[in-house]
């Protein structure tokens, strides 16, 4: 893959890319609260710990399924490249679009959270805001601009930056939670953590929202060309990220379950529940928390777009997307054209949501849920393609067929139930995703009929080069 800086990224930035795309600090504070009051459909929330535990189990299964492919192919466009090798280019187009959709929506949601929490920060600091939108829109634009700059400058810098932000945010949030519980210990009851409300319908949709706290862990699979020793670092990063973040979520979900159960309804239903909760104890705590959350989601928007543009860039190189997005920056060697194409779209949506005056919380649930559908769709097809990928290179085993089938079925069940539940509840969001899938199938069909040559070039990846081979020369 010409144009990108090859095999230079050490393990830590690769891991940072995964962690940042997942945005555990932001997710652990925002997403459990979204699941909790079941904002989605207003029904009684399922058990938070169970929901997150199941979501974690499914994500670990997905990472186990992606790992054999990550060990064998230095992909530049992640699941898209894997599927092209396993199930062929037409299916890959659907996976690519689905993944791009997922990354884009999560990036949009991230920018929206950044805006929401920075506005909240001003409120907690006692700055009078007639209309929080006056702060939110410029903040979103500013964040998008800064993200653009960091991404064009290079993944090395943006990865280090995001890792730093995440570490600080996680530390701050953990300390704040411990302090909060230390202050409020006598009032706390842990019974709800282990109580099961017996609501299976909302459990499924809860899992899909909880899954959105994990998505992005696969994003290092887009760094196969840039990572140093990609066949070690990429599988390691995608294996450990869901485990590490899952443990963080379980801790934070139990904590929030306790905290929010006892909280007044106005807080549980707020867009920034945890921050409101802290504001009761100390506005300074709440402000620090706001800053940590905003920073973490800022990192998430960077990481999501970083992964997105690498898929888009690959498609540009293959000719199944405009060729111009396949151009890289001559100096920084990043897919700069793809970044410049994608960022305006990713920025405009949260701005519109804010200006339209819709509830940020509702906007977030919609974006996260839709984004999750995008990720889940990509995960399902990529998982299903794993055994075919291995068979094609002559390395399939019985275990790989079992694993591929199990993961595909588990993901399929979640997606199916969530779809059914969301349609029952009268939500039409799923149709937006279904339309995308249909469009991708039609697009692939048109390509096949009109430009079969371009379709056959789908699935480029970082191939072995002359310099990777043993040359038979002696080392001085």
């Amino acid at each position: 893959m010409e144009g990108l800086r090859r095999r230079k990224l050490s393990f830590l930035p690769v891991f940072a890319q995964a962690v940042a795309a997942v945005a555990p600090a932001g997710a652990m504070t925002v997403i459990p609260a979204l699941v909790f009051p079941s904002l989605v459909f207003g029904s009684t929330g399922p058990n938070l710990v169970l929901t997150f535990g199941l979501a974690m189990a499914i994500m670990v299964l997905v990472s186990l399924t992606l790992r054999p492919m990550a060990k064998r192919m230095a992909a530049v466009s992640g699941l898209y490249s894997y599927t092209a090798k396993g199930l062929g280019p037409r299916t890959a187009i659907t996976v690519g679009w689905s993944a791009i959709f997922g990354y884009a929506l999560v990036a949009m949601a991230s920018l929206l959270v950044v805006g929401t929490y920075v506005a909240q920060l001003f409120i907690n600091l006692g700055v009078p805001l007639a209309d929080p939108r006056v702060v939110m829109v410029p903040v979103v634009l500013l964040a998008a601009g800064a993200a653009c700059l960091l991404m064009v400058r290079g993944i090395q810098i943006s990865a280090w930056f995001t890792l730093l932000i995440e570490s600080i945010s996680i530390a701050v949030i953990t300390v704040l939670m411990i302090v909060y519980f230390a202050f409020n210990a006598p009032k706390v009851s842990f019974t709800s953590v282990f109580t099961w409300s017996g609501n299976f319908d909302s459990l499924w949709i809860g899992i899909v929202v909880a899954v959105s706290a994990f998505v992005g862990f696969e994003s290092p699979t887009t760094l196969g060309g840039e990572a140093y020793k990609p066949f070690v670092s990429v599988p390691r990063a995608i294996m450990w990220t869901p485990i590490v973040t899952g443990v963080l979520y379980l801790l934070s979900a139990s904590a929030q379950d306790v905290a929010l159960t006892g909280a007044p309804l106005s807080i549980a239903a707020s867009s920034t529940p945890l921050s409101d909760l802290f504001a009761h104890t100390s506005p300074v705590f709440a402000s620090v928390l706001d800053l940590g959350i905003a920073a973490s989601w800022f990192a998430c928007s960077i990481a999501s777009v970083n992964a997105l543009v690498r898929i888009f860039f690959c498609m540009g190189r293959e000719g199944v997307a405009p060729r111009v997005v396949g151009r890289t920056h001559p100096v920084f060697r990043t897919p700069s054209m793809a970044i410049l194409f994608v960022m305006p779209v990713v920025t405009i949506v949260p701005v519109v949501v804010i200006i339209s005056g819709a509830s940020p919380a509702q906007g977030l649930v919609t974006l996260f849920l839709l984004g999750s559908f995008g990720y889940l769709g990509a995960y399902i097809i990529a998982s299903a393609s794993m055994p075919f990928f291995l068979r094609r290179i002559g390395e399939a085993t019985f275990g790989s067929w079992v694993l591929g089938a199990a993961t595909t079925l588990a993901l399929g069940a979640v997606l199916w139930e969530a779809t059914a539940e969301s349609i029952r509840a009268g939500s039409m969001q799923i149709f937006a995703y279904a339309a995308l899938l249909l469009a991708s199938v039609i697009y692939a069909l048109i390509l096949r009929l009109r430009l079969p040559g371009r379709l056959s070039s789908v699935g480029i990846y970082d191939e072995t080069r002359e310099s990777d081979l043993y040359q038979g020369k002696t080392l001085p």
Binding site: M73, F231, V232, R392, E395, T464, D468, T474, L475, P476
Partner: protein, 247 residues
């Protein structure tokens, strides 16, 4: 070489080496199936090892991902393990030079950041061959090699530099300083640093790309170092003669 069936579980450390050997023998494009068939190894075990070897770049996959080839990481092992071969013509010119003076003349080659004895003086064999190879900071040929390296850590383990005599350089800063001089002068010398009473002068044999690939080393008693140095010009001429014969 014969391949006996391997019980995969019995010696897991050797199996990756057997895999490397099969790939080296069959050449670029060796498939996983060929490897499991040849070694009679369980496929799942073989795939796991192959992926580990690919991960560390001892092997690489060919473009269709089915085949394997030896990766660049293996060159360190092969280079370090293969003894240097010196063509007869090169041996002959060194032999002629030996007859022209009364000092010891050895040829060392640099291999993967370590010294290898390429042509030992038959009349005065090396007395401290082990020390020569292990402590490059104490010998003239070793210092000539160190001066070529970007990173000394491969040749000089961290910590204290070994003190072989009272004159051995054990201060890293001082060594770096001397290496800078060696790079500038294109020659390295050592007086009583390896062994009390013995000294040597090393001159570079350059490869076509200009980097130093071997050292021609003259040694003798320390009190006669000035006399050794008188042969420097003749020795330098010899290195120019040797270069095309060796590289």
């Amino acid at each position: 070489m014969t391949y006996r069936p391997v019980n995969a579980g019995s010696n897991t450390v050797s199996n990756p080496l057997r895999i490397l050997e099969v790939v080296a023998r069959f050449g670029t494009g060796t498939t996983a199936k060929e490897i499991t068939d040849t070694l009679q190894m369980a496929p799942a075990t073989a795939y796991r090892m192959l992926n580990a070897l690919v991960g560390d770049e001892y092997l690489v996959r060919t473009s269709d991902l089915r085949g394997f080839a030896l990766g660049h990481a293996i060159s360190g092992l092969i280079t370090a393990a293969t003894p240097p071969t010196v063509p007869t013509a090169a041996r002959a010119v060194i032999e002629e030079f030996r007859r022209g003076n009364r000092f010891t003349v050895h040829l060392f080659m640099f291999r993967n950041a370590s010294l290898r004895i390429a042509d030992e003086d038959p009349y005065y064999p090396l007395r401290s061959a082990y020390e020569m190879l292990r402590y490059p900071h104490a010998s003239a040929a070793g210092k000539l090699m160190l001066a070529e390296l970007d990173d000394l850590s491969a040749s000089l383990p961290g910590g204290q530099l070994a003190k072989l005599t009272a004159h051995t350089i054990t201060n890293r800063a001082k060594l770096e300083e001397q290496l800078e001089e060696i790079r500038f002068n294109g020659e390295a010398s050592e007086v009583n640093e390896m062994e009390q009473g013995s000294s040597s002068l090393a001159l570079p044999v350059r490869m076509p790309n200009g980097s130093v690939g071997a050292a021609l080393c003259l040694s003798g008693p320390s009190e006669r170092f000035a006399a050794i140095y008188e042969h420097a010009d003749a020795a330098r001429e010899l290195t120019v003669q040797l270069a095309p014969l060796l590289f």
